[in-house]
Amino acid sequence: MKIHEYQAKEILAAYGVPVPKGEVVTAASDAKRVASRLGGTVVVKAQIHAGGRGKGGGVKLARSAEEAERIASAILGKPLVTPQTGPEGTIVRQVLIEEGVDIRRELYAGIVLDRKASMPVVMASEAGGMEIEEVAARSPEKILKVAVDPAVGFSAFAGRKLAYGLALDGGLAAQGADLFSKLYRVFQEKDCSLAEINPLVQTGGGLLALDAKITFDDNALFRHQEIVALRDLHEEAPLEVEASRFRLSYIKLDGNVGCMVNGAGLAMATMDIIKLAGGEPANFLDVGGGASAEQIENAFRILLADKGIRAVLINIFGGILRCDRLAEGLIQAVKTLQVKVPVVIRMEGTNVELGRQMLDESGLNFLTASTMGDAATRAVEAAKGVHRS
């Protein structure tokens, strides 16, 4: 789960990581009030989850409270397009007004889970302000890494190693080491999958988290109600929110062949085979291993809400699942929801012949296929052949 920059900074501040003074507002008049309270130059920062906000014009300096109000009013309520949002952009509902900071150096501090080592790894770099992936690709030697053994935790020496590695000296080195240890506590105690300060800036008064990004492990949200409360549904596609209510895993794509599959790996493979057959998948949709009649009806409703769909491909490898029951569920759902587009079904499991026969004789717009390849070809052809008036 993702959160906004201002929320990430609130968490960091609660753990004692220094962040710039500021306040998040939803109205331009409040932006003026906060800017005049902070005094001097302030920064107006659009709060959306997508990165690249600076490049999209979502981060601006204001030299007066009036200018802060003007900028906030130009940004608020409008879509912000960044390299990560897609062409339609994301509507900005909140802006963070922060004090201007005198920046001497821009550094990087971040923690991710290293899958290969099965441990969290704390990273630091003098190349702050750039995307860390870019630094990793171009000059990996500029990234310092410390893997944290969970049996020991984050040691004081590891903090010093990173701080001295960043060429921090004197009091700054101690502050840096302390900051890494606090960031690790956030990562550990809040079950993060990413905790990143980029840039971590060196100012005349010490180190400061100028920008922050935290994402959480969805699997651990059950023990963090305080984090769940930070979820911003505006940032998620409405259909994906709806799908998550039914514990369906749905991701909308741009194509016109909808698909409904049991299991994530098979769902990805089904998307791929639609593409190989010359079509474009409209979505990823995993209905789970069981594929009950109720889940199928929910899944159909989500799929059909996407008006671009011209055909649906259902691929269910049930194994022990009864295909006649599955067919019954499908027929019911198609009748109830008055599905108009052709539905191609490939299923495996017990009573598969009976299931196919039921679909073929239903008088509904079903096409059955016996293999994945065959199903994909039929679905793509059906999608090309449909002309709606």
Binding site: L113, K116, S249, G263, G265, G319
Partner: protein, 291 residues
């Protein structure tokens, strides 16, 4: 021969009195697996599905000689269940549970370091050596004993692959679902290692997906250490970056972990990679025929 599970497997099912645990314990038993015990704390002494239930794994080991465990414990308690099984000296732990917090698995991995216990999963369909033992939730009847080892990060996609093989009369030595989570016990390389030392296994089908670097590591290992045929497939060619595709581990992060990168790494190591998931069976068939 085969790997991980066979006729010597004596299975204890942790979480046997739950809905999933009951159902699949019965499924394993019906397949012919020696299911010798179940564990549910507080229900020790009960007989469930004809299987004796114990309060702890160590009791089940002492009373029944269980050497393999299958876990259906809910996510919040599953890591603890794995630790308990390892502490009791279980040799192979298969954890089916989906949704275990990643940092819980960090601790589990650390705990298992240096121990002989092998963990498969979590978030996996389990392990089956056709005709010998089924330790998992896969449909047993689609399998056939034979020469192909199957390793995969997913569930139903593995069934799809196995079905393509079986329909061609090609059997399997062992099929291992290693799991869809970012942190798992047994990885592709571990399985390849085991298959290399298994005389029954003539070829290996490796089914990967986007996210992480397991396929690249497998490719490096195959190039250096495996002389038998390896056939591959990678799911997620059309997956958008930055989105978690159902499995917690199936995500292209920071531009890394794409299907294209993985396919290239595998092909560079001499692995024959299928472009289409519909070709897995036919590709294995051709490879076995030396074509």
């Amino acid at each position: 021969m085969s790997i991980l599970v066979d006729n010597n497997t004596r299975l204890v099912v942790q979480g046997i009195t739950g809905k999933e645990g009951s159902f699949h314990a019965r499924g394993c038993l019906e397949y012919g697996t020696k299911v010798v015990a179940g564990v549910t704390p507080g229900k020790g002494g009960v007989i469930h599905e004809g299987i004796p239930v114990f309060n702890s794994v160590i009791q089940s080991v002492q009373e029944t000689g269980a050497n393999t465990s299958l876990i259906f414990v809910p996510p919040a308690f599953a890591a603890d269940a794995i630790l308990e099984a390892a502490d009791a000296g279980i040799a192979v732990i298969v954890c089916i549970t989906e949704g275990i917090p990643a940092l819980d698995m960090v601790k589990v991995s650390r705990y298992l370091q240096g121990k002989t216990t092998r963990l498969v999963g979590p978030n996996c369909p389990g392990v089956i050596s056709p005709g010998k033992a089924k330790v998992g939730i896969m449909p047993g009847h689609i399998h056939l004993p034979g020469p192909v080892g199957v390793i995969s990060r997913s569930g139903t996609l593995t069934y799809e692959a196995v079905w393509q093989l079986t329909q061609r009369g090609i059997g399997q030595s062992t099929c291992v679902g290693v799991g869809g989570d970012p942190i798992i016990g047994t990885n592709f390389v571990d399985c390849l290692h085991l298959f290399r030392d298994d005389p029954q296994t003539e070829a290996v089908l490796l089914i990967g997906e986007i996210g992480g670097t397991a396929e690249e590591e497998a490719a490096t290992f195959v190039k250096a250490h495996i002389d038998r045929t390896v056939i591959g497939y990678v799911a997620g060619m059309t997956a958008p970056p930055g989105r978690r595709m159902g499995h917690a581990g199936a995500i292209i992060a920071g531009g890394k972990g794409t299907a294209t990168e993985k396919v290239h790494a595998m092909e560079a190591a001499g692995i024959r990679v299928c472009r289409s998931p519909a070709e897995m069976g036919v590709m294995v068939e051709k490879s076995l025929q030396g074509k």
